[in-house]
């Protein structure tokens, strides 16, 4: 529990200190009085009681009213500081946190997905909480924040970290065998580090072609969404007709790979009708052939061939929360050596042993409860939220094991 | 060692008021049991008023109304049975008990037809047809089946109870000056009626 000077922690700590302080006083008072009475009136010294008093309504009133006052201050202080935990500063950034058995996924507004929560220092962060399966709870002791993630319901917490560093995130609502391992961290980065992380993020997550478009400044003149700019939009090019001026004549061509390559290497040879011939030429020095190909592919919408990274997908989607890569068996079969394995599965109440292949893995992913690996519980969630490409990538990766 | 008078120790303390009071306490527990389902119902209604009304229309109001009348009448007959036994009209008491049991059976048969019709329409907990109709309607029918099911179960118990008491009356073990058992069974039976008095408008009659 790092002692942090952050707003949410302060709100909670004030209440804690107030209540614990008062409690300590009361406890001490009661204990001291009790011990004093026990010692003073012990039987060896007082063989007979010296009073037979049966009560006192005055005292009863006092110790009814006083505690009422005390606890009401506690209640009010606790409530008013709680309100601070729910009211989010206007400039907060938003991150989606999805909990599932037994891992966390954080999704940034630009679509980037991470397993740790990266945030800039001194910036209020609103974390939107979701769950895909059972109850979990997002708990960061350093910020004193906690909130359950409930299936089909959105909730949130917020915090602001005044110092960089790494702060633990726990799952605080019991969720099964992986509950204690469902931990990750908030990584609070300085503004520069965060900016760098954020940009590296966009770049590495994007297809190479788009990165080149960004890096080369193409986007400065071309839009990607169909709006006209200095240059024609690069929106939906593949297979569309285009009127161009070539050697003084206007002809109509169909956009294809070769055309695009020419348009980048030698832009002035063919000018799109209605635009000025002002695009610079990019030779091999500026964009090598590989990148050129990537750009062209991207523009023609062939990015899909850019294969998703199976390893990354398995971490992001929490597979590793249940399956291990190192051969240890826990809740689910290990991935180690899965490509070569023969598995015994229960299907429609019967046991069959089959060799693992791509089709089996696909079924295991998409309809996991139809075939259950013997000795395991039918608890794996269907990975139907993944795209076909992503599934393929995971299967490919698993078969390499 | 005093062995004499030990066995009947529990009978020695004859306390009819106490027995009735105990029965009432037991009925409180039954009310709370159902109130759990009514909480779920009221929350569902607050969340999905439209869907609940729509789903309610799918229930057969005739079955519901007839069953209400049947239960009310059975409540009457068992109440009459108490007056009858107080007046030492054993024969009449027995007949009233039989009518009550008969009406309980009528209720259950009615319920059977009603449910078969609904299940025939693909409406039952966990059915696909239900799932297609969306969460509000599903919630309504799930609740309907479990509340009515629990109620039906109580009818079964209540009917059995009355049958047992009727045998005891016939055997002369429950008599005009010792009829707490009949009274308590009647109390139980009235509770079953009470639950239905609320169940009926809440499930069959919302618009």
């Amino acid at each position: 529990m790092n002692q942090l000077n952050n707003p949410t922690a302060q709100a909670v700590d004030n209440v804690l200190i107030y209540i614990f302080g008062f409690s300590l006083l009361l406890l001490l008072g009661i204990t001291v009085v009790t011990i004093y009475f026990v010692v003073k009136y012990r039987r060896s010294k007082c063989p007979e009681p010296t009073s037979q008093v049966e009560g006192s309504w005055l005292l009863e009133t006092i110790w009814t009213v006083l505690p009422i006052i005390i606890v009401m201050t506690m209640f009010w202080y606790g409530w008013s500081n709680y309100v601070g935990l729910r009211e989010i500063p206007a400039d907060a950034m938003e991150v989606k946190a999805t909990a599932r058995m037994w891992s966390w996924q954080f999704e940034y507004p630009d679509g980037r997905k991470e397993t740790k929560l990266y945030v800039p220092v001194n910036k209020p962060v609103k974390v939107l909480l979701y769950s895909t399966d059972v109850l979990h709870s997002f708990f960061v002791p350093a910020f004193r924040i906690k909130r359950d993630t409930v299936p089909n319901m959105e909730s949130y917490v917020w915090f602001q970290a005044p110092e960089t560093g790494s702060y633990d995130i726990f799952c605080a609502e019991y969720c099964g065998v992986g509950h204690a391992d469902m931990t990750t961290s908030v990584e609070v980065l300085s503004e520069e580090d965060y900016a760098q992380w954020a940009s590296s993020a966009t770049v590495s997550a994007d297809p190479r072609g788009l990165i080149v478009l960004n890096e080369q400044g193409c986007i400065g003149c071309h839009s990607l969404d169909g709006t006209e700019n200095i240059g024609p939009s690069l929106f939906e090019l593949a297979g569309n007709p285009r009127e161009i001026e070539k050697d003084g004549k206007t002809i109509e061509i169909i956009i294809d790979e070769a055309y695009l390559q020419r348009a980048i290497r030698d832009p002035d040879a063919e000018i799109t009708k209605g635009f000025d011939p002002m695009m610079p030429a990019y030779d091999e020095e500026a964009i090598n052939n590989e990148d050129l190909q990537a750009v062209v592919d991207y523009l023609l919408g062939k990015v899909a061939e850019e294969e998703p990274d199976g390893d990354r997908l398995m971490v992001e989607n929490g597979c590793i929360g249940c399956h291990s890569l190192d051969g240890s068996e826990s809740i689910a079969p290990t991935f180690k050596g899965i490509g070569q394995r023969e598995v015994t599965i229960e299907r429609d109440g019967q046991s069959v042993t089959i060799k693992v292949d791509a089709e089996y893995l696909r079924r295991a992913l998409l309809d996991p409860n139809a075939e259950i690996v013997k000795g395991f519980a039918p608890m794996m969630p269907a990975a139907d939220y993944l795209s076909a490409e992503e599934i393929d990538a995971i299967i490919k990766r698993l078969l390499q094991e | 060692m005093i062995i004499k008078g030990l066995l009947p120790m529990s009978i020695e303390h004859r306390d009819d008021t106490g027995a009735r009071f105990g029965m009432w306490l037991f009925l409180y527990t039954e009310v709370i049991l159902f109130s759990g389902l009514f909480i779920l119902y009221s929350v569902g209604l607050a969340k999905f008023p439209q869907q609940f009304a729509e789903a309610s229309h799918k229930l057969n109001i005739y079955f519901g109304t007839i069953n209400t009348l049947v239960l009310l009448t059975s409540s009457l007959t068992i109440a009459l049975a108490i007056t009858a036994i107080q007046k030492n009209k054993i024969k009449l008491t027995l007949n009233l008990c039989f009518v009550t049991i008969f009406l309980a059976i009528v209720f259950l048969i009615n319920k059977y037809f009603e449910w078969s019709a609904e299940i025939g329409h693909g409406i039952y907990p966990g059915s696909e047809h239900l799932a297609e109709m969306g969460p509000g309607i599903t919630a309504f029918f799930n609740l309907y089946y479990f509340t009515a099911g629990l109620h039906g179960f109580h009818i079964l118990i209540g009917g059995t109870l009355i049958a047992v008491v009727a045998t005891l009356i016939a055997k002369g073990k429950v008599t005009s000056d010792r009829y707490t058992l009949l009274e308590n069974s009647a109390l139980y039976w009235h509770l079953v009626d009470l639950v239905w008095i609320f169940l009926f408008p809440l499930y069959y009659l919302i618009l």
Binding site: - | S35, V43, L76, I82
Partner: protein, 94 residues
């Protein structure tokens, strides 16, 4: 531990109450066919409450029982109301 015997309730009373119950049932069905919006449910509940009081006080002889029974019933109703009411502090304001 005084044992007081109940006077038998005349058959006639029971039959009258039964008749009232039948009438109320018809009324509640009839009213439910009239569109009153959210009021429908309250009307239905009110009629159901009247019906159940009749059953409780007459059929179940509560009228003849001692105060203890009545206080007990009141306690029960208060508790049920609390359970439902306090649950709604969450459900309605979520």
């Amino acid at each position: 531990m005084t044992e007081h015997k109940h006077e038998p309730v005349p058959f006639r009373t029971f039959i009258l109450i039964w008749f009232a119950l039948l009438v109320l049932t018809v009324v509640t069905v009839a009213v439910s066919r009239v569109h009153l919006g959210a009021w429908n449910i309250w009307v239905a509940l009110t009629i159901a409450s009247i019906k159940s009081s009749l059953v409780v006080f007459i059929f179940m002889h509560l009228r003849q029982e001692s105060k203890l029974f009545k206080i007990g019933l009141l306690t029960l109703l208060i508790i049920v109301a609390i359970f439902i009411g306090l649950t709604f502090t969450d459900v309605l304001y979520r």
